[in-house]
């Protein structure tokens, strides 16, 4: 691996990311999957970086999940997205930042469509106006929240914060970065670093002291693939994809997987359980699985936020070994407590994937 070659390619895929005044749109599913992530993003942006991030409660789904599952027509989707833009315009913002990768891809797809087919844009403006009476400006800048974290990676990794280095050996942690398919595969120029060797997560990992693993199936989908999972008959495809990725990365002994998409961490995390139940195989050290993190969770960890505030207790694969490796302190007793300090109950132990026992 010649990192110089990658830097050469990264040079070609520089993208402009707004620095402030973000109109932030949440993901439909992330708050269920990894509830602490979006909250952490807002906390970092506002508390650590002092940025203006605006949220509008009237914001709805972009309908991407329906669009990619072939149940929502493109026209409908475009009109719904036009409404989001109208909300942004009404709020006086022009930097559009999405929490979701699929939304990010979809916004880009729609803006590109409108760019090449102005008549389509005109029609959608007509639809939106007829339906809601709204008009909109197209955003000046569209970024994914991971782009924004990437932009401020230096500030987050400021001296004194935690680093992705093994406390015991002093060696950098080995990290698998997994980019959501809709981030740059459709429009390589819209992603930091392009589609082949995306830099957005790699940049964070490098900045925070870790090392990125380049394994053969790094381009492969996490396995979600919308219809692959959503239609039950297709779930075999979904889990087969995930297994392919794990089989490919396992020889590199990654310390954890970093993701920037709503679905990827969900499937890379939960399918480790399903695979262990189906096949009896586990990945990672000591049968504990390979921890999977969202970039917000990782940024929060670097900043020293309490892991249980980040929502790491809802991960299937225990993150404690990773916290121990880095040396992030946590109170194991608080892991399964409600905000009132009452026990919230604990999941049953799986047959193969081990629970972490604190010593």
């Amino acid at each position: 691996m010649n990192i110089g070659g990658k830097r050469h390619i990264w040079k070609d895929y520089q993208k402009e990311i707004a620095g402030d005044r973000f109109f932030y749109v949440r993901s439909c599913v992330r708050q269920n999957f990894f509830p602490g992530s979006e909250k952490t993003f807002l906390r970092i942006m506002k508390e650590e970086l002092g940025k203006d991030v605006f949220e509008n409660a009237a914001h709805t789904t972009c309908s991407g999940i329906g669009y990619h599952s072939d149940v929502v027509p493109f026209e409908t989707t475009m009109t719904m997205v036009a409404r989001q833009f109208a909300l942004m315009t009404e709020a006086g913002y022009e930097n559009f930042t999405t929490s979701c990768i699929t939304s990010f891809g979809l916004y880009n797809e729609i803006l590109e469509t409108w760019h090449h087919f102005p008549d389509v844009e005109a029609r959608i403006r007509e639809h939106l106006h007829r339906a809601t009476g709204r008009t909109f400006n197209k955003p000046a800048n569209v970024s994914h929240a991971s782009d924004v974290i990437f932009k401020f990676r230096k500030e987050i990794g400021a001296p004194g914060n935690f680093r992705l280095v093994s406390k015991k050996t002093g060696k950098p942690l080995q990290v698998v970065e997994h980019i959501g398919c809709h981030y740059a595969k459709m429009f390589p120029s819209k992603g930091v670093g392009g589609a082949e060797y995306p830099y957005v997560l790699t940049g964070m990992i490098e900045e925070w002291g870790g090392e990125v693993i380049d394994y053969p199936e790094r381009r492969h989908c996490c396995g979600f693939g919308f219809r692959q999972y959503l239609v039950q008959a297709n779930r075999g495809y979904s889990i087969s994809c995930t297994k392919k990725k794990f089989d490919s990365m396992a020889p590199y002994k990654p310390d954890f997987i970093l993701t920037n998409c709503p679905g990827c961490p969900m499937f890379l995390d939960r399918w480790q359980y399903a695979l262990s139940e189906m096949k009896g195989t586990t990945y990672g050290e000591n049968g504990l699985g390979i921890p999977v993190l969202t970039y917000e969770e990782l940024a929060g960890m670097i900043l020293g936020y309490d892991p249980w505030d980040l929502g790491l207790q809802v991960h299937q694969v225990p993150v404690e070994p990773l916290l121990d490796k880095i040396g992030i302190p946590y109170d194991p007793g608080r892991k399964f407590l409600t905000m009132d300090g009452k026990p919230m109950g604990q999941p049953l132990a799986p047959s193969h994937l081990k629970f972490y026992k604190h010593v």
């Binding site: 779930r235 075999g236 495809y237 889990i239 695979l275 189906m278 047959s351």
Partner: protein
């Protein structure tokens, strides 16, 4: 083990590194003309058997060379040996002996 109602599927990819290529190696050693194939499909187009039933001699020996031999034994039995394939092959692949050699290789690899 939990029954989820679905499971991990077999990979459709030809994994050249892991496939058992003993039949291919035997074939290439004993009938090297098979290496001359350019995939034109004349053999399959002329094939007396392939006209009547699913039997693609061109694909069959290409698959063998890649180590894909799962359906081989069943397929190879359909050949009538008439030799038309060989007569039309623009590269002089000795197709009848290819079949005989594959049969022998199958016997030897069990």
């Amino acid at each position: 083990m939990i029954h989820f109602g679905y499971g991990v599927m077999a990979d459709a990819t030809t994994d050249y590194d892991r496939n058992d290529r003993r039949i291919a190696e035997y074939l290439l050693e004993h009938e090297p003309s098979v290496n001359l194939c350019i995939g034109c499909g004349s053999c399959t187009a002329a094939c007396s058997t392939g006209r009547m039933v699913e039997f693609n001699i061109r694909r069959l020996h290409t698959l063998i060379r890649r180590g894909e031999t799962l359906k081989l034994k069943k397929e190879i039995m359909k050949c009538m040996f008439c030799g038309k394939c060989q007569l039309v092959c623009p590269r002089g692949v000795n197709l009848r002996n290819v079949i005989l050699t594959i049969n022998r290789a199958l016997e030897q690899t069990g």
